[in-house]
Amino acid sequence: EPEVTQTPSHQVTQMGQEVILRCVPISNHLYFYWYRQILGQKVEFLVSFYNNEISEKSEIFDDQFSVERPDGSNFTLKIRSTKLEDSAMYFCASSEVTSNQPQHFGDGTRLSIL
């Protein structure tokens, strides 16, 4: 069964550095999402992306964050000038051609900011 894949599985970065988290959504999916889960807290929505633009973003997704679909397969989340509180599990998800189809999640990237 097709899967959403995320790399790396664990990223350790110094505070203030930039980090790029990578995702390969399921090939025929057109909606893409990023969520994060701070340890011990709920999974929180960050952003959704469709037709090469952001369709919705949460209040968490400020100017520090950006997303991009640089080619036909990858979907990336860039975090500039990372802060300690950015440490979390980041999940990528994708869904089929219409919204409200089930979202399929990747394994997540554990981001640790030192």
């Binding site: 709920k42 089930p102 979202q103 999640f105």
Partner: protein, 115 residues
């Protein structure tokens, strides 16, 4: 704003027994979707079951079924004949129909299955 509450941080069940995980939600929407996702340790979140709010019939998927009470805004998950592989974090999630695509999650319930 929608909220999802899972009041049981942890649950345990004996293998082959039945367990019910609770979920309540708050919304002013009339049309929406509800989901249960399963996250085994160090693994991806997997969709277990999905319920459309306009459907009165409770969704079932093999050993997994839901008790959807729209008026009470309750959406519990029943796992029958529990297996060791059912051990995982279970997340309840809400999604409005039309417009926003975001999932709103509960904090999760950690299910342990005892042999």
């Amino acid at each position: 704003a929608q909220t999802v509450t899972q009041s049981q941080p942890e649950m345990s069940v004996q293998e082959a027994e039945t367990v019910t995980l609770s979920c309540t939600y708050d919304t002013s929407e009339s049309d929406y979707y509800l989901f249960w996702y399963k996250q085994p340790p160090s693994r991806q979140m997997i969709l277990v079951i999905r319920q459309e709010a306009y459907k009165q019939q409770n969704a079932t998927e093999n050993r997994f079924s839901v008790n959807f009470q729209k008026a009470a805004k309750s959406f519990s998950l029943k796992i029958s004949d529990s297996q060791l592989g059912d051990a995982a974090m279970y997340f309840c999630a809400f999604q409005p129909q039309g417009g926003s695509e975001k999932l709103v999650f509960g904090k999760g319930t950690k299910l342990t299955v005892n042999p």
